[in-house]
């Protein structure tokens, strides 16, 4: 988008320069686009584009590097925190973040996220929790709530068979290496603003080498959930948020 001025009009809003012009592949109403934009707005506002390296996951955000105009690495499924560790350890003065979904972070990559956070790696983890495997067509995720229908729990998740939805964020908060742990959403402007503040705070903590900052974003998946964007946001508020309540889980005490 050029900053062309149209007669009699004034630019009151534009996308950040840290996002590319590539049209996003995300489904209409998906949270990913919003979270990408918020993240890149913070990078632009903090002026850290030259000093930030992102890690894309396997999942719907696998192409995050097509949209974020920063240096990025694409990790194997679940291994983003290990990749981030490798980058941050050799470039300790740069900002490093991972962007991971629930299957990536809370199932196949459970070991990597627990140990990265336990080491207190100075990274930001943005964790998108929509309770489903969006990219592969809406299968059960480790965070799928009880009774929730997915393509592999077509009659609703039966926790007596498939186990319980994993509150990984609360688990991460127990680790001494985790410095700031907070749960957010992006279904309305107020939640979007709060998320932006949390991301900004996390980058500032990272500069101070405080440890791992972990931000969960409870998200929708209209296609995976077989709902319209509006319905999915309504369902998120009614069903996801009671199980995954928003707010800070661990705040800095120094």
């Amino acid at each position: 988008m050029k900053n062309a001025k149209i007669d009699g009009m004034e630019i009151v809003y534009k996308k950040p320069s840290t996002l590319t012009d590539t049209p996003m592949h995300y489904c209409p109403g998906c949270s990913h686009g919003v979270v990408h934009k918020i993240l890149m707005e913070v990078v632009e506002e903090l002026g850290i584009q030259e000093d930030v390296i992102g890690i894309a996951p396997v999942g719907c955000a696998v192409f995050a590097y097509d949209y974020m105009n920063i240096d990025m690495q694409e990790a194997a499924h679940g291994r983003a925190p290990a990749v981030a560790t490798g980058i941050k350890r050799v470039l300790p003065n740069k900002y490093v973040f991972t962007y991971q979904g629930d299957g990536d972070l809370a199932a196949i990559g459970t070991g990597e996220i627990i140990h990265a956070a336990n080491r207190g790696e100075n990274i930001l983890v943005v964790f998108i929790n929509n309770g489903t495997y969006g990219m592969t067509g809406g299968q059960m995720a480790p965070t799928t709530i009880s009774g929730m229908k997915t393509t592999t729990t077509p009659y609703g998740r039966d926790i007596s068979v498939t186990g319980h939805p994993l509150k990984i964020t609360e688990l991460i908060a127990q680790l001494p290496g985790a410095y700031y742990v907070s749960r957010h959403a992006v279904y309305n402007t107020s939640t979007i603003r709060k998320l932006k503040k949390a991301i900004e705070a996390s980058f500032n903590y990272q500069k101070l080498n405080k440890g791992t900052c972990f931000i969960e974003v409870v998200s929708n998946c209209p296609s995976g959930w077989r709902m319209s964007p509006v319905e999915s946001n309504k369902w998120l508020v009614e069903h996801m948020l009671p199980f995954y309540p928003l707010g800070d889980i661990k705040v800095p005490n120094d």
Binding site: I53, D71, M72, E74, A76, E112, H115
Partner: protein, 363 residues
């Protein structure tokens, strides 16, 4: 640090420790690994020496999976990076190694082999030849593979592997075994800082205004693009062929040539001496690079040699490449021990004598 000393230093060292010391001297910037017998001395040595090298990252990972992905991240950020493991641990790393090959990341992976399959044994073996040389992980790719046969080569090949990995933007492997890792020999250690670091303009170090963003990925979802990347890789492997290395001993007049790599080549050297003493004209062909493989050199030998005897500490893996090289011109025999058992020069000699009998080779 040993920065002042520009002369090689002579020490008596264990193979694993010599390799670790060589990594520091070769300017390794980061190491990520996980303990496993028979190579744990590498991580232990690096950890003990770490205070001398405050700028080198030494980190014990939570698993081999994490270790290889830390290597991926650090390599993608332009660092000279190494990991080491032994057979089962290397199996765990295969996914990451395939990703690194596809993303064209230089790094050094050391496999101090033990006997398998499965959890196997902690004794030395060469059962990972196929895995190392033919790919190991999914997809069409190759590692640069070097096979040391002495503690000195455990040192020298660290330098060679880093240099080749960076030159070709390809992961390199040192394929050694528990015996070479554990044995002590006199080594000459090159001075610190003798291997210049290759520039990595592709690395993700933060995007300055003046360049496009750098992306490290192995995802090429469009078939045309994926094939293009495969063709680039294949072209690179063709260029790699000129890096082929091997050693020949007494092959000029040989009727029978022993073909062996690594530890087995050293044992075969003794067998060759014993055979020569008994009047049999036996030579030794030792591939030093297992990928690229010295195919042409073996093919040339097949013009005047009567028969080949491949000896390995496995059930017959490299022998397939010997047969492919010889192309049926001459007989290729195989003798192998598995399970961590090291063959003796004398038992190999018996096999040589059998070959001599079969081909009516006179002493």
């Amino acid at each position: 640090m040993y920065t002042d000393n520009k002369e090689p230093e002579v020490r008596l060292m264990k193979g694993n420790e010599a390799l670790a010391e060589a990594a520091f001297r070769a300017g390794m910037q980061a190491y990520f690994g996980y303990p496993i017998t028979p190579q744990s001395e590498i991580l232990e040595y690096l950890s003990a020496e770490a205070p001398k090298y405050p700028n080198v990252v030494i980190l014990q990972a939570e698993s081999e999976l994490a270790a290889i992905n830390m290597v991926y991240g650090a390599a993608g950020a332009g660092a000279r990076v190494m990991t080491t493991s032994s057979s089962p641990g290397i199996s765990l790393m295969q996914e990451g190694i395939s990703y690194m090959a596809a993303a064209q990341l230089p790094a050094l992976i050391v496999n101090v082999q033990r006997g398998g399959p499965g959890l196997g044994t902690i004794q030395p073996a060469q059962g990972d030849y196929f895995q190392a040389v033919k790919g190991g992980g999914h997809g069409d790719y190759h590692l640069i593979v070097l096979a040391p046969a002495s503690v000195q080569e455990m040192v020298d090949f660290v330098f060679d592997a880093f240099r080749l990995a960076e030159k070709y933007r390809n992961p390199a492997m040192i394929l050694t075994d528990g015996a070479l890792g554990q044995m002590m020999e006199k080594v000459k250690l090159p001075p610190y800082g003798s291997l210049p670091k290759t520039d990595a303009p592709w690395a993700t170090v933060g995007k300055p205004k003046w360049r496009e963003r750098n992306i490290i990925t192995s995802l090429f979802i469009q078939p045309e693009k994926m094939e293009e990347v495969n063709l680039i890789l294949q072209d690179k492997y063709q260029k790699l062929q000129k890096e082929v290395r091997w050693e020949e001993l007494n092959t000029k007049d040989a009727d029978i040539v022993l073909v062996a790599f690594g530890l087995t080549a050293r044992i075969c050297e003794k067998t060759m001496e014993l055979a020569r003493e008994s009047g049999l004209k036996v030579g030794l062909f030792r591939p030093i690079t297992l990928y690229p493989y010295p195919t042409d050199a073996l093919k040339n030998l097949s013009n005047h040699v009567e028969a080949f005897l491949t000896v390995e500490m496995n059930a017959g893996q490299m022998v397939e490449d010997v047969r492919l090289s010889v192309e049926g011109r001459k007989s290729v025999y195989f003798y192998g021990r598995t399970g961590g058992i090291i063959p003796t020069p004398e038992e190999i000699l018996k096999q040589v004598e059998l070959v001599a009998e079969t081909h009516e080779i006179e002493r």
